[in-house]
């Protein structure tokens, strides 16, 4: 390791232990001084970055959450208005195509919480089947190459979430046990996808925006919808 390499290493990651770097400073006093300077810089940085946290922040967060999840004790009028809202919501829901599903899918993909507990790598058919079982599905044929599989909650509903490969490109495949009445496509931020009705509820195929045409995505959705079936009860 020469002096330039040593300095590049220390400026990018002063905390990493490197045998070659240790050997280098044992015989280069200039770089040993540089090492001390960077350590001092980082000590000062740590002090500068440690800004004061507002007093009672954790309590405020917990209070805010409790207001949102435990509203005031409901009165008779509250229940009446809830019932009216419920019937109104049912009415609106029936009049509406199931396109709020696409918003849930986009939020789910953007959120990335699923990545915390999903499985990456070459996913076996048994693992794919295991995920599908959780939502009442099964497979007839293999889904091909699957690189990610997870049982996720999407808007408090359990869904099966896969990343499949098609012509070397990754696609998100989500099976949702929520009925969609119509086939639809959506484009939102960095995603482009299609949703189609399926025996288990709905099936969505999502790609990066601009990567594929809607008809290509529909073809893929149809292909996967033939491979996935509802598990007999």
């Amino acid at each position: 390791m020469n002096c330039i390499e040593f300095r590049q290493l220390k400026l990018a990651d002063p905390y990493v232990f490197n045998h070659e770097a240790s050997r280098h400073i044992s015989h280069c006093s200039t770089c040993a001084a540089f090492d001390r300077e960077i350590q001092n810089l980082d000590n000062s940085l740590r002090i500068a970055l440690t800004v004061a946290v507002p007093e009672g922040l954790a309590a405020k967060v917990l209070l805010n959450q409790s207001f949102r999840s435990n509203p005031r004790r409901p009165t008779r009028w509250y229940w009446l208005s809830m019932a009216a809202s419920f019937f109104m919501a049912v009415f609106i829901f029936q009049m509406m195509p199931a396109d709020s599903l696409h918003a849930d899918i986009v939020e789910h993909l953007d959120h990335e919480a699923h990545q915390v507990h999903g499985k990456f790598g070459d996913i076996s058919t048994a693992e794919v089947r295991n995920v599908l079982y959780a939502i009442g599905g099964d497979i007839d044929n293999s889904l091909g190459k699957v690189t990610y599989a997870s049982k996720c909650y999407m808007n408090e509903q359990l869904v099966a979430h896969f990343v499949v490969e098609n012509d070397g490109q990754p696609y998100t495949l989500i099976i949702i046990p929520r009925e969609s009445k119509h086939q639809l496509s959506f484009q939102s931020g960095r995603w482009h996808g299609v949703i189609m009705p399926h025996a288990t509820g709905s099936l969505a195929v999502v790609a990066g925006a601009g990567a594929d045409s809607t008809s290509d995505l529909l073809r893929m959705a149809k292909h996967y919808s033939e491979s996935i079936k509802q598990r007999p009860i």
Binding site: S44, R46, A48, L49, V53, A58, A113
Partner: protein, 177 residues
Amino acid sequence: MATRVSKHMASKQALYENLVNAYSPWLYRYAYWLSGEKSAAEDLVQETFLRAWRFLDSLKDEGSAKSWLTTILRRENARKYERKQFQYSDVDMDSISIETVQFDARPEVSALRIALKNLPAKYREPLVLQVLEGYTLDEIARMFELPRNTVATRLHRARQKLRVVLQGSDDDIRKQR
């Protein structure tokens, strides 16, 4: 059935409280250096935890909670505040130094805080994660969805820029003395 639901809610609440108590200071500091404002930072922390509550059932591994919360906060910041980022270059430097004097008011620390605020976000963000919370280059690269070398270059440049500022501030302090 009702008992099972209430047990689930109680354990969810307990986990949530643990997360809030353990990570709200870190998230606030990170939010502060992302947004540049105390009130925006506090709002970001509130929004992050509200979203975390909604999705808490999907967090299976508590060991990943900090990264999970940090990612939620980054997303919230990108969604809500990116368009109205504070323009530091338009702000009088003296007013910044008065506002940010907290904990340690030594001149070199104040100079560093101003320099940190003036650093482009792409340099400041990985530096905060590395210095304050000890995230490794690989972890930061994964979080930012960037190649490891790009993150290393950004950290390298961030420290270079701050060294220059710190050397300047040392000279000023020596002159004042």
